[in-house]
Symmetry: D2
Subunit: 145 residues, 4 copies
């Protein structure tokens, strides 16, 4: 996986994700961000489930969301996630969520999450090999001379 690495995911808004205003409840954006992360990693050949089983977790350190438009029950969403390094021992996912309307996509939310690399107890741990290699490659790309 070369960083930055981008992935697209389509999801429908579930009824359980709506609220009484008729749109999605605000915290669902972070849950959709998570769906995007899982599928981005899978597309890169990395199974986050196995990564955690081997003792490397990616807990959130920071999350940011801008709410840009409405999405309602059963609307089709396009989640674009991009993974990039964020310092030595952390990762950043930038995410945009758009709603696929008849002939266009309309912005719904945008934001990012920053993740530490820890063991299951929350202690910082060594990055898994795939990550070290990806970060190394990313750094080299940035300063190729």
């Amino acid at each position: 996986m070369a960083l930055p690495f981008t992935h697209l995911l389509q999801l429908r808004v579930r009824y359980s994700e709506t609220d009484q205003l008729g749109t999605f409840y605000n915290s669902r954006a972070l849950e959709w961000f998570e769906c995007g992360r899982t599928e981005l990693l899978r597309a890169a050949g990395i199974f986050y489930k196995q990564m955690e089983e081997k003792g490397a977790c990616l807990p959130l350190v920071e999350a940011h969301v801008q709410y840009l438009g409405r999405a309602r029950y059963d609307d089709l969403l396009l989640i674009r996630s991009t993974l990039s390094p964020a310092g030595k021992a952390s990762l950043r996912f930038d995410v945009t969520i758009a709603r696929i309307a008849d002939s266009q996509t309309l912005p719904v939310a945008a934001g990012y999450t920053i993740h530490a690399i820890t063991d299951p107890a929350g202690k910082p741990t060594r990055a898994p090999a795939w990550l070290t290699e990806a970060l190394h490659a990313a750094t080299q790309e940035e300063s190729p001379t």
Copy 2:
């Protein structure tokens, strides 16, 4: 704790628990049932958190909910939970949820959950002492001669 054991809990409906119909989303009833269980056990001097840490879990085997009326954001709910034995190695919580209106309570939901007693891996395990004693006392009360 003598069985059956009953406990009352008040909760307000959170905005995150509503859906686009303007009432609570149906699965929240099971989450409120869980709040009732936690507080019933605490009232009986049992901390479910510690119980799980010692290796005795109470995973659901069965759940049933009847939806009897509406509850909206910020409505005050009264959750009445009753713990009783359900066979040798399982427990049953019967729950009613009512909405506290001006001068009355209106039914919102009623149901029950049945729980096995297992270790964290899901294998059936010995009931903790508090439970054995409560079940024993309950049985004796039922046949006091």
Copy 3:
């Protein structure tokens, strides 16, 4: 749509749907039941979103879940939903959820939901035409003489 009508849906367990026991939190089963309903209706040419916009809602009257096995983060689930009539003015969805393992499917949950047909304010309302026709066809099939 001829009743009973069955539909299959595949879903992955989200991280947000797990709990500290490492499996899915119990109320998620009802949320997955809802995903099954939405997609069953779509497969039959019925868009529940539009149905609600036209004023016919299907609020839950009753839900029942049996928990049969574990499902963990990222496990692939197979949700089988069957719609059948339940009395004159209500519908019943029977659902089974299985986990797709290497060479087999393992049971996770089974249950049903029963739904009234109401307007958005919760008052019983006329069934939409698709439903009346499906119920009529179902009744005729049952007594074909």
Copy 4:
């Protein structure tokens, strides 16, 4: 209500709010922020439920969370919310969440939400009187000469 206005709320972590790492799932922080907002407004004599019924909603425009420490099932949380103006027609809630341990409080999360003032359809609308007055008082306090 004079701005900034601060409110404290205690909450326990629900089982449904945990995830397989054994702590709270990240999006729950935004749900706890919402509980803090509702109770802050109530403490100031403002019932957000009634405010929405009168047509003034406070949808999120932006949310930010820093995750500072762990909180587990049944941990007691202290949510400190502060309301302040954010431009002419929006509000900002700053929130810290701490865990109440034996003799101390430990940081769990900190962040903010920014809210627009809209009608139920999402169109910007006039601020309700309580808000105009509070904003006016806040502005005067800032420049008292």
